[in-house]
Symmetry: C2
Subunit: 431 residues, 2 copies
């Protein structure tokens, strides 16, 4: 309800998301202006390749060849960065836009998770907004919820499914009983994975989101220390075993804060079939947090794609249009804390361990002795022979044990002559 204002918007990057946003903003000018009591116009766009075929109508006067020219233009208020990548053009654009007192909206998780602290500093100094709702979990309004709807809360844990591609792959392997390789190929063919899906699959994408969320939850600077495992070692046999034991396998990101330290990690995780998170299939994302006073909160939605991402981008643009100037990471950089990182090796997990062993007398007894020597107590064992192969699979579910002790156990095991394959470790989450 502040005085009506006019905002000139420039969009840089016109891939699927940029083009969708361009059309959406033009089509919904009226309702968005009403809701935000401000008007806006897309004054400029810029993209690497002007001549690429796109489903948008850009006026000649809207095109800017050199995207860096935008930051100097007086008639630009908000720059929307949809280039991607932590370095290169995206980095250059966002740094110089903020330095030139332009508001910035970005969907770039790599950039924010790496340079977010420096960028926030410039934004704060220059009294402009740096908004990145679209960088974390697409259509799930988690950033705005942390900064506004749940602002009262002291958060001790945030975790969930933060990557749609890897979740799609794991749920397809489970539903269709396909192996990892064919499932990935299928996901690429269907457009659920990029042709080079490595950052989605290797956990890097989730890690970037975990870092951003940690920082917002714990009022701290970004913390680069994080344990990362992707899903490429999860095979159909693990998924079958998990089902037999009452679990599903999900790639989860976690950030826990206790005893003055933050523990960030990303790894495939066994979750009970009956748990909420086990039911999140396909490209959906889900964020679960524990806060005081609110208790447990869950937000779920589509994690990626042009439409869900546009929902997030428009919420950022709207926030700027309403004059809701906020600190990018919820509090002033001068008040953010430096929190040290804890090591995953000190945490306790119940674990799933899969061994492929020679089928001979005394192996199980030797194996279980190694567990007990390393202070890892066994909850459940499942031994089954591989047909005609003179080998057996041994699945062990441990009681909650120190991660370093589990690792020591595996290190000892791997040297034994009766172990045929590198032992497989998957942690179990009982939340």
């Amino acid at each position: 309800m502040q005085k009506k204002k006019f905002f000139n918007i420039a969009i840089v990057g016109l891939g699927n998301i940029g083009s969708y946003l361009f059309n959406f903003l033009n089509k919904n000018k009226n309702i968005l202006s009403n809701k935000n009591n401000s008007n806006f116009n897309i004054v400029y766009v810029s993209a690497k390749n002007k001549n690429k075929k796109r489903n948008i109508k850009v006026k000649k006067t809207q095109w800017v060849k050199n995207y860096l020219d935008l930051v100097k233009k007086d008639n630009v208020d908000i720059i929307i960065e949809l280039i991607g990548g932590a370095e290169g053009p995206a980095k250059k654009l966002v740094f110089s836009a903020l330095k030139n007192k332009k508001h910035v909206v970005t969907a770039n998780k790599s950039l924010i998770s790496k340079y977010g602290d420096q960028l926030a500093n410039i934004a704060e100094k220059n009294k402009v907004n740096l908004e990145f709702e679209a960088a974390v979990c697409g259509g799930v309004p988690i950033i705005r919820s942390l900064k506004e709807g749940l602002i009262a809360n002291k958060i001790s844990r945030i975790f969930g499914i933060f990557n749609g591609t890897s979740n799609y792959v794991l749920s397809s392997m489970d539903a269709n009983k396909t192996n990892y390789k064919e499932t990935i190929q299928n996901a690429i063919n269907l457009g659920y994975a990029e042709s080079n899906p490595s950052s989605d699959i290797n956990g890097e994408d989730v890690a970037a989101k975990v870092k951003i969320l940690s920082s917002l939850c714990f009022n701290s600077f970004l913390n680069q220390k994080i344990h990362i495992e992707g899903i490429k070692d999860v095979d159909d046999e693990d998924i079958k075993n998990a089902n037999k034991l009452g679990y599903k396998i999900k790639l989860l990101g976690f950030s826990d804060y206790f005893q003055g330290k933050v523990y960030q990690r990303v790894h495939p995780t066994l979750v009970k079939k009956s748990s909420y998170i086990a039911g999140i299939n396909g490209v959906l994302n889900a964020v679960i947090l524990d806060g005081k006073p609110v208790g447990k909160n869950i937000i779920q939605g589509e994690g990626a794609g042009p439409s869900a991402t546009t929902s997030a981008l428009v919420s950022d643009i709207s926030s700027i249009m309403r004059g809701n100037i906020k600190f990018p990471f919820s509090i002033s950089n001068s008040k953010r804390k430096k929190i040290s990182s804890g090591d995953i090796s000190k945490l306790y997990f119940s674990s799933y361990i899969r061994l492929k062993v020679k089928d001979k007398y005394g192996v199980l007894s030797a194996v279980t002795k190694i567990f007990s020597d390393n202070k890892v107590s066994i909850k459940r064992v499942l031994q089954s022979p591989y047909k005609n192969k003179n080998s057996s699979s041994i699945i062990i579910i441990t009681h909650s044990s120190r991660d370093s002790d589990i690792k020591k156990t595996l290190k000892t095991l791997v040297k034994k002559s009766y172990i045929i394959q590198k032992p497989k470790l998957l942690r179990i989450e009982n939340d």
Copy 2:
């Protein structure tokens, strides 16, 4: 990042929630001031009974005997109304506070669902905030999500579990195989239901929330037309039958917008056991919405209680402290639409119908003929005799049929001499 400001807060109503909020604000002054870049102070409190034992330390100078005096005091910026009820003191306080240009934060769903349009008008005219996150689903930040995080979206449907007490009762009946009466008593004893739980149980509480959410989702004025059924007619036999058929029973609130009309309804509903909503047990609340471009979004959390409600109240207070002045219902009253209400009788549902019939030849055939005469097609029938009672239970699951046709069917049935008890109707949701 606006200039630091100072806000004086007055709390009216010091029950469980008011007292919790009072302590919370005092304890968290520092972090909240940092996050909002503004300071605050609880300058006054007021409550009906000054001498009631409370777990808070109120200074002599903070007490105000007549709560209405607060609206005239120059050193009050924000009034927090925690009296409750659509009429009487709460109504007087909120109307006169807004008229006197005080920001208002309220948890009062009855008041907002009844007088929200008038109140929003005054707030808008006087450029103050009227915030009511705590009025709908406690710790679930649904209002702020609709107004900010999901602002881009055209919403076509919102539904979910909006009342913790009734959900607790239904899930307990299911889990403990207890009947309605003993479960309610148990809920009262455990503090999950008020000693007079009627508004929670009869659907009125859910209805108020549906009206508020509708208005926010569809940019319309409050619509008072709503179909309401509570849970008092759901008995253990229905829950047992539902389980047998693969369903759970939940009290759901719905608001759907299509073909220019809004359809608001509250009723106990059969939902598939495998559905997300079936797994929401106890006092939890869950809100599910369909929006464009975001797709389906879910937000879940604790629906009531002092701590969850305080999370919501503090998000409202913070929003005011950040100078984020917004229209109470997302857009200006001058832009809100008058949408007409559709009648539930015109909607189509698959339904569960339970009949108690005399155990004699030809009854089932007579019953099914009545269904077919009324254009209601039957999907499934389950007939089972009551032991030693010369009577049977007939459960019929219909295909999707017009609600008015189902009602006509029941009206015809009830007159038949072989029908021993008023037929029971529960609608099925296949979302």
